[in-house]
Amino acid sequence: MHRSFFTVLLSAVFLLIVLVTFRLHESLHDTQSETIGRTMQYDAAWNGANGRLEFYQLIASAQKFLLDPSETNLRDTELRYDILVSRISVWEGEGFQAFLGTRPDLREVFNELKHSLTDLESSLRDLSDPARLETFLATLEDLKPNLDRLASEAYRGNLELNATAHADLLESFRLEALFFIGVLSFETLLLVIALLQNNSLSAANRRIRKNAEELAFLAHNDSLTGLPNRDYFKDILKETGNTDAQDHEIAVFALDLDGFNVINDTVGHSGGDALLTAVAERLKRRAVRLDSRNVVARLGGDEFLLLVHKGHGAPGFDEIAGSIIDWFSEPFRTEAGNMLVHASVGYTVVTPNEEDPQNILKDADLALNAAKAGGRGGIAKYDLDMRQLLEQRTWIEKELDFARWRNEIVPYYQPQIDLESGEVVGYEALARWDHPRRGLLGPDAFIKIAEISGDIAWMGEGILRAACTDIQQISTTARVSVNLSIAQLVGTDIVSTVKRVLEETGLPPRRLTLEITESIAMLNEDLIFDALRELQKTGIAIALDDFGTGYSSLSKIGQFRWDELKIDKSFVPENQGNEVLFAIVEFLRKISRQIDCKLVVEGVETEAQRDLFAKLGCQIAQGYLFGQPAPAWNFMDAQAENVRQTAGKQLSRR
């Protein structure tokens, strides 16, 4: 705004100066022409001088005649007289009169001269008479001063005229010089301004370029570590694939830090950032030491990408993966203190026919997921199954939408037997997906995906509602167990959902058991336990599922008053079992007694196993021995058919 105003002002001033310059120049030019013209005008001095000369020639001629009174001399004297008269007539012309007009004193001199000369004309006829000639000469002699004066004054007047013209011209030239200097100064000023502006433009240009470079750096690099970001990494990958792939192999490693969230929670975000910076530095240093062409990028969070080149004779990528894991064996020194963190690494070898960096990154990420699934410090190499798994997953996510509206996800029930009485005391509702083309899918195939996609909310509620309804048709006394997923507990208002479903289906709360896995319980989330307690108050039983599989220590069992502990099926021995197992189960039985909860065993497949756990003190058992998971109608029919038969007889028939 300021700049444009300045430009307009400058232009206006410039235009004004050009106009003034033009007018001034014109006027100067006119003055000079006029002045020069003046000096070229009629010259009275010249005229005066010639007149004086003619006068003296007349005198000379007359004197000659006096000495030699010949006819020729007489004629000459007459001619000289005529010439002088002619001169007088010239002096009567406008040019000389203009000069005389400025000098009244000279006009008198001229008039006197003119009259005296006219008077002499008559004497001219009698010049042969010496006396007349004498008078003639005397008169001329008297006129001498007049002519001298006229001539010299005319000359002086002309000098003055010329002097004035000269002065005028000088003044005009001086003005022109001044004017020229002015224009030159102004132009210099303009030039300086233009240069300054150019300078500031250059500076602005430099600033803009610097900003653009910074922006480009920001766009290409991670602001925390300065490492390339995902997009830039992809560009580099594409470039590398285009040029280098032929003579050696390259692989993309995806890496993330194990338990980084815990570190972040412990040392705060600044500490976490300090760790990430230190990790980035070490990764880059070591990666470049392996091969100068290697590139390290940060995806965000605690995820890093490495582009690794492998020349001939270099160690294999698996070895390189191993050494990358080793880079984390020493603590990282940061401002927030020394920190030890481990990493998991997944990698994929870039094949020449895979050109899309996006796919390569996806493969590396899949491999990383696989590596993490294998526990801390894991290494995995991408293989095709991983992508198929991913494709399966994507497919399921898409299909879940249809499943909801086609009501394809239904509970199957597996009976639970009281080991003392042998009666069916409950059923565990297990989610099954009755897919029209794929057939029956177990929960492993879709529950985790549904948890991530959020489909678990409607799915969980659907299973719960179906279970609460079905159980009342299957039995009048048996309980039903329904699994709760972490997503239901955290993401939804589970308490009111359960209460509402119970109310709507009319199932008494005491007939419902909700199972949560040990891994959920170990999260130690107060909110989860608050919800569970709330549900427990209404009479619903809460079971700890998959007990013994996670990282949990036994002491944690005491944190909640569990109604059931479900021993994981991995504890069920194939044969007779051993002393250690017995000791563990015996220990669990004691605990369960102490905290007043039932001990349930899953995966019982043989009578021997049933007898074993019965002997060890488990109250309830579940497994193929007592029946595979089956749709509700199966049990309704069975119940009608065997309404008076005991469960024991049923079992023995199998």
Binding site: M40, Q41, Y42, D43, L79, S89, V90, E94, G95
Partner: protein, 160 residues
Amino acid sequence: MGRLFLCTLTIKLILIFCAPSHGQSGQAILSVSGNIAAGQIDLTRDDLERLPQSQIRTGTPWHKGIVTFEGPRLSDLMKMVGASGETVEVIALNDYSASLPFSDFDAFNPILALKENGQFMTVQSKGPLFVVYPFDDRPELKTKLYFARSVWLVRALKIN
């Protein structure tokens, strides 16, 4: 060229057959010399009057008011005497002289005036011949240069 030659020849024949007569009008008033056909020739007022007469009405610094001058064009006179050259030196009775370029004759058509306001000019009135440029018609002539070429009391021409 042929035309100029023919014209010159014609004028010469005229001059031969009309030999200068005596008396006031028969007296030679102009002597032409230098680079001309005849080498040197004296012309009377009659000779000059036989050429086509031209008038110039103009004011001059040497006269009062507007004056009508009459006389032959200098260009015609040059043709008549078969002059060839660059300049004409015009010489006056008072020994004043000026050099007139031929180019002036075609550019401005100056005349060698015999008459001023219908009267033959005498020596006392800047006669008998007066080189007159058309100052009023061509104001650019009003400079010292052309004033100096305006010779009065003309008595001779010398073609250079």
